[in-house]
């Protein structure tokens, strides 16, 4: 009586399914198709090419540099960010003095748009910016490194901005998750003489490991996809290909270099990279359980 019959269910869900399919499923399938076309720019007529885009891509330095940068970025960022966020999250869950103000501060980068974040760090890292200005005041005279403009420091700068943005926000999410653990568990452990350090790593970490896996995947996806926007705003992938990731390559080949086929082939690789990464993270978390 209270259940809707199947035909009627369809009626209620159909509008949402149509919109969702035409803007998400459809374009995803189209990406695979376009990657097999010879297509320079949007209004040029495409023709079928087969797998040549992939061959061109695998033979180009840009692709391998982008792949290396992407792997380097996630493989060095996540192992630092996630444990750090967990520790801060645990600390906040103890409600130390000032925890309210800390929570607000930690949360702020999560609210600020990518565009605004990029503008802030542009002003911090530009030669006459906050970082060099402060270094000069501290006595490092004539410090005028272009942090985002030098091959040596550009990718590291991007790494730090990602960390700056992600740690606090992830920490607050972990605090909220930790606060849902029954207090008795910690009380019992405390009476047994377990130190805070042990209660953090031996008790809390295993209990919320599943959630940590989820947050890690979120950060992973954010870094490889969302992170591209930040790089495009700050360095455009340069200098040279120093900060080009797969995401930046997809964008650059399509909109700056007029190679739509190549761009979409890179998109396919990025998509597969994302799936493999998520499987890997899940495996890793499962193995720890």
């Amino acid at each position: 009586m209270t259940k809707i019959k199947n035909e009627k269910t369809i009626f209620f869900v159909l509008p949402a399914i149509i919109l969702y399919s035409s803007f998400m499923i459809g374009p995803l399938i189209a990406m695979f198709y376009i990657s097999t076309l010879k297509w320079t720019y949007i209004i040029a007529p495409p023709s079928f090419l087969g797998l040549d885009n992939y061959r061109n891509m695998f033979e180009s330095d840009a692709f391998w540099t982008a792949l290396k940068n992407t792997i380097l970025l996630v493989a060095t960022l996540l192992p630092v960010m996630i444990p750090l966020a967990f520790m801060i999250g645990y600390y906040l869950s103890l409600k130390p003095r000032g925890h309210r103000i800390l929570r607000i501060l930690m949360f702020t980068p999560g609210l600020i748009s990518m565009s605004a974040t990029a503008m802030v760090f542009f002003a911090v890292l530009t030669p006459p910016g906050l970082l060099n200005g402060t270094l000069n005041n501290l006595g490092f005279s004539n410090e005028n490194t272009a942090w985002l403009g030098s091959t040596r420091t550009a990718l590291t700068s991007i790494w730090f901005i990602n960390l700056w943005q992600g740690v606090g926000y992830t920490a607050v999410l972990m605090t909220a998750r930790l606060e849902s653990i029954p207090r008795e568990i910690f009380e019992a452990a405390r009476l047994d003489g377990a130190s805070n350090w042990n209660r953090m790593w031996r008790i809390s970490w295993p209990i919320i490991l599943d959630y940590i896996g989820t947050v890690t995947m979120l950060q992973f996806l954010w870094t490889i996809f969302g992170g591209a926007g930040l790089i495009i705003l700050l360095t455009g992938g340069g200098p040279g290909y120093a900060t080009t990731t797969l995401g930046v390559l997809v964008y650059g080949k399509a909109f700056s270099e007029n190679q739509l086929g190549y761009s979409q082939a890179a998109g396919v690789i990025l998509f597969i990279f994302g799936l493999l990464g998520m499987i890997l993270i899940r495996r890793f978390i499962r193995a720890k359980e």
Binding site: T9, V13, P27, A116, I232
Partner: protein, 281 residues
């Protein structure tokens, strides 16, 4: 006595933790303070004394940012896009969530799985096809297309969160309404809508942040043209060969005003919304 001694020991053990967390908090706070202070300075003052308080509080930088890149128009465009996207999303997600939460048999579960698949699809990867779709539909560089796109990307999470809320509503309420002759749409409108209000607020706040802050698709689908660009696209236009950093940062502050307002009124709900949003992924 024993517990007293123990907690003192813990107090000392926490000292490095206090130190590390507050150091990180300073690293978060300093750039934010720097933005506020610099919005009232010129380039020379920003570089020479980046962390000093500004010597005067003139709003010239704000006025210049507002005029040079027409931030007012950008804010209005962003507001239109955000409002349209919110309306479309709720209008489609509510019935869909109702259908899933109250369906008999397997089809509800299958539809829910289908939406959950959306968490794995990065909209980013499909940027070029989305752009082509907008050209094919003759909606290139239009606000409605961009809103439809934004709604589509947030539908999976919105539908699944709302369905969770609806499952907690007792079916007896609906049964008695149906016995009185109410239709499905009426029960949705008069029973489910009021009782799911908390869930709707959560979804609306969560989506607000997504819609307002979106940058890359906004750039690709709406472009740099003043008449269609959002505030997020207008802002980076302030970077030139001779960037006035004070103006740039004043503009950045202006772009953040709507988010501040929402944060001030809803800060508890925002945390809850983002937490709920992350759990389901």
């Amino acid at each position: 006595m024993v517990s007293g001694r123990k907690s003192t020991g813990e107090g000392i053990a926490l000292v490095p933790a206090h130190f590390l967390v507050w150091t990180y908090a300073a690293l978060l706070g300093i750039p934010i303070y720097f933005v506020f202070a610099s919005a009232f300075k010129d380039n020379i003052a920003i570089f020479d004394t980046p962390l000093a308080l500004p010597t005067s509080f003139s709003f010239n930088n704000f006025v210049e940012a507002w005029n040079t890149v027409k931030l007012g128009r950008g804010l209005i465009n962003s507001l239109i896009v955000t409002t349209m996207s919110e309306i479309v999303t709720i209008a489609l997600a509510l019935p869909a969530a109702y259908g899933i939460a109250r369906s008999k048999g397997k089809i509800g579960a299958i539809v829910e799985r289908f939406f959950a698949l959306g968490f794995l699809i990065p909209a980013f990867a499909a940027m070029v096809p989305t752009l082509l779709l907008s050209i094919k539909l003759n909606m290139y560089h239009t606000l409605p297309f961009f809103s439809l796109f934004l709604s589509a990307t947030t539908l999976p999470l919105s539908v699944i969160l709302l369905a969770q809320f609806m499952r907690t509503i007792p079916t007896e309420l609906e049964e008695s309404a149906m016995l009185d002759g109410a239709t499905r749409w009426q029960t949705l409108r008069f029973i489910y809508l009021p009782l799911t209000r908390a869930g709707i607020v959560l979804v609306v706040i969560l989506n607000f942040l997504t819609y307002w802050n979106e940058y890359l698709f906004s750039l690709v689908l709406l472009g740099y043209d003043t008449s269609t660009r959002t505030v997020q696209v207008a802002l980076p236009v302030l970077i030139t060969n001779s960037t006035q950093y004070g103006v740039l940062l004043a503009g950045t502050l202006i772009s953040l005003i709507p988010v501040y307002i929402v944060y001030i009124f809803f800060h508890r709900k925002i945390e809850g919304a983002l937490l709920a949003g992350s759990i389901k992924v």
